[in-house]
Symmetry: C2
Subunit: 293 residues, 2 copies
């Protein structure tokens, strides 16, 4: 069993990006610039945005945070989005979700210029992903694909079972894994809450991607020997072992499944650390105009 | 075994649409208007476009065909698309594919206003489909879903196996079948040319959708008893039994598979007749502003 070390891989990618930024600077190019729009004072959202800004700094990107009161109108936010769309100094930007209930998230997402949609949430980017065209892929699926690639895991013709069909993880990763690409070209099954014979299907998986959000859902008897396991779950569960009083638990019962796996991501330290670097990578691609030419 | 009669179902839908058009007329509303852009003199393309125009007539829609020489420039075609986008008299339009090699199909498709993209090929419509949002779904997947619905075939929690991952059939239908919807909510597996253990997987199918383009690919030993079979294949094979010298053959070996199936679509007369009515249905939805409000 080999551990897929997301923390180390993320660190490698940060190094690569930092080097790229150095090159850009040496050639007198503008460094990538990410903006984040944050509404209100939700602690988790503030932490996420702060971490994204910090990650930008680490690799030499510029970052800007636009913070507004949660009471702003939808129209005001849409104007901010429009202004960011038109601001040539900003290469990409995100609007941190969730938004207050009086603002339509979908409307805001659809207002973002797809060329600056580094979260990859705009229907155009999702559609382009499905069509196998260049696109901004959202952070978690991007991170999963990158881990598989960097660990040289064979995917062509393999049976990849995805548990979960969320718009931001399960569904896009299932599409990516079946595209004529590496990583990809796999036979892909999408399971979810309505799947009747879950174990029968997961036991067929050469590659199992668990993104259902139920801690410890995948037990040892649900996988076959040699399976590659990507655990996307990050549920906070109470813990007496940590200062914070909680710890992150994946969708996979690691102790039961790891002994049977050929590769497995731990939680924490697997897919999680990859998400922010995926955002950085998208911002870099946006700055270089690599997706929309 | 019950035959899924696409011809009869298509006829029913045409009747329903004709009635709707009558209602629209009585209320003094403009009737739906479909435009088709056709380049060159490809016989098959000309026939398709003529059939689409005729189908419009049958249900009381208006239709317009814009025919150009195959030598027109990409820029000229893009201007025509723009003009159709801005023409409030046209509710929806299609650009008949394939286009001559000097014109980028993708560029043309992306130039179509998604609100008039009744072929459902624009990345925005594909992305919205994947997100479970209202969207124009392209003709074949739409026709498949409609047949399943009209025959009241149970889909929730069923294992649906799709053979083929094309952008216009396999992939969108696999997404639709796994959405939290009826028809849908199924466990879905996408197989394709790289799938190693095809038979093992197809034998698990409660619903099998064959869209791989290989005549007679699905044999009797590849399905289980009671399977629902949707055959999307329409390959022209030489035949001495027809005046034209060829006949259409599906991806399913009908004689072997039908006795084991609970429902099965014939070829011809299954999915085929549904595609044009799907286009009419989309045009109707466009005219009513039901997708983009």
């Amino acid at each position: 069993m080999q551990l897929i070390d997301g923390k180390k891989t993320a660190e490698e990618i940060r190094h690569e990006l930092a080097k790229e930024v150095e090159n850009m600077k040496m050639q007198g190019e503008k460094v990538p610039h990410l903006a984040a729009v944050l509404l209100g004072n939700d602690g988790a959202s503030e932490t996420y945005v702060a971490n994204k800004a910090k990650a930008c700094e680490q690799v030499g990107f510029r970052s800007t945070v636009l913070k507004f009161d949660a009471s702003i109108t939808e129209g005001f936010l849409l104007d901010q989005v429009k202004s960011l769309n038109n601001n040539s100094d900003i290469d990409g930007f995100i609007v941190q979700l969730p938004l207050p209930a009086h603002i339509s998230e979908q409307k805001v997402i659809e207002a973002i210029d797809p060329r600056k949609d580094v979260d990859g949430f705009h229907p155009v980017n999702i559609g382009r992903t499905l069509l196998g065209m260049p696109s901004f892929v959202s952070a978690t699926p991007y991170g999963i694909i990158e881990l598989i690639k960097r660990y040289n895991i064979e995917t062509q013709g393999k049976h990849c079972v995805v548990i979960g069909r969320s718009n931001i993880v399960g569904r896009p990763v299932s599409v990516l894994m079946s595209l004529k690409n590496y990583p990809g070209d796999a036979t892909v099954t999408v399971c979810h809450s309505r799947t009747r014979n879950m174990e029968e299907i997961t036991r067929q998986a050469d590659i199992l991607i668990a993104a259902i959000g139920i801690p410890g859902f995948v037990k040892g008897n649900m996988v076959k020997d040699g399976v590659v396991v990507i655990d996307v779950g990050t549920t906070r569960v109470p813990s007496e072992q940590t200062k914070s009083g909680f710890k992150l638990k994946g969708d996979v019962d690691f102790d039961e499944v790891a002994p049977k796996a050929s590769y497995i991501t731990p939680v924490p330290g697997g897919v999680g650390p990859m998400t922010i670097v995926s955002l950085l990578k998208n911002t870099f691609l946006a700055a270089r105009g690599e997706i929309y030419k």
